[in-house]
């Protein structure tokens, strides 16, 4: 898990180190939209896996919130790119995120019961932390369109809340 998060994080932050926001645009709005949308889709898929596998009421309630919130923000993102005439553009960061997520889904598929619940909660903490770091350091500072920037800021507030919620859930599962 640590390996996967680190890879995804370095891929995300590669934009940041290569292209500080004040140096001008190196990650386009079309790429940012694709990364943000992909991050949301990944978390929905992880939550759907949890809803299939977990019988823990708290884990299921958390997963339902993840599905609902990330679908809501992604629906808004799709509406916005449609309105702006921007076509989300796949890029190494979103590809690395998808690849890491697919690997995670496979490894979690082998777990059951409390072991699954704990691994899901831990991964939710790591995933949201990674995405928050990328939003703060790279995606929000680089976004040029004001509406996209505002949506990413709402996304960051949402992801931070989810990270805190996942930390609380993980602590409860350890008890």
């Amino acid at each position: 898990m640590i390996g996967k998060s680190t890879i995804a994080l370095s891929a995300l932050l590669a934009f940041g180190t290569a292209a500080p926001a004040h140096d001008g645009p190196h990650v386009s709005d079309a790429q940012i939209a694709h990364i943000a949308y992909t991050a949301g889709r990944i978390d929905v898929e992880a939550a759907r896996q949890a809803l299939q596998k977990s019988r823990n009421a708290k884990v299921r309630a958390f997963a339902e919130i993840m599905v609902r919130d990330h679908e809501a923000v992604n629906a808004q993102a799709l509406a916005l790119v449609g309105k702006l005439g921007v076509k989300p553009e796949s890029n190494p960061t979103s590809a690395a995120l998808s690849k890491g997520a697919a690997r995670k889904i496979r490894s979690l598929a082998g777990l059951r019961g409390a072991a699954f619940d704990r691994a899901y909660a831990r991964n939710e903490i790591a995933f949201h932390r990674t995405v928050n770091g990328a939003l703060e350091a790279t995606l929000i500072p680089s976004a040029k369109n004001g509406e996209l920037k505002a949506l990413l800021e709402t996304g960051l507030a949402l992801f931070r809340e989810h990270q805190g919620h996942a930390e609380h859930l993980a602590a409860e599962l350890r008890r």
Binding site: R68, A72, V73, T154, A157, L158, E161, G164
Partner: protein, 106 residues
């Protein structure tokens, strides 16, 4: 003219008949947006009504820790709760436990 007087009498009748106790409760608005509860009105009194207006993309709730109110707030919806007593009433969102605030009523 006569119609206007009748209308005024009808409007005033409930207040005149039942006195100030029957006056409509004061309604205060708290807006929920961008994963936050907006400012809590400073001059709450027991019996007042809070109108919770969810302007966010996300479903929220306004839930009292003491169980005295709990209103579900789908995106772009609003709901009302009553301030049941004097004192501090902490509240939070059931779906986003990091979202919280405190009603202070006199």
């Amino acid at each position: 003219m006569k119609a206007a007087l009748t209308a005024a009498a009808l409007l005033l009748a409930p207040f005149l008949a039942a006195g100030p106790a029957a006056a409509a409760p004061t309604v205060h608005t708290i807006v929920v947006d961008k994963m936050k509860f907006g400012a809590v009105p400073p001059d709450l009194r027991a019996g007042d009504v809070i109108l919770w207006v969810n302007r966010d993309l996300f479903r929220h709730s306004a839930t009292a820790r003491d169980g005295s109110f709990d209103v579900d707030l789908p995106p772009r919806a609003s709901g009302r709760t009553r301030v049941g007593r004097k004192g501090a009433i902490p509240f939070f969102c059931r779906y986003h436990p990091g979202m919280k605030g405190v009603l202070l009523s006199r």
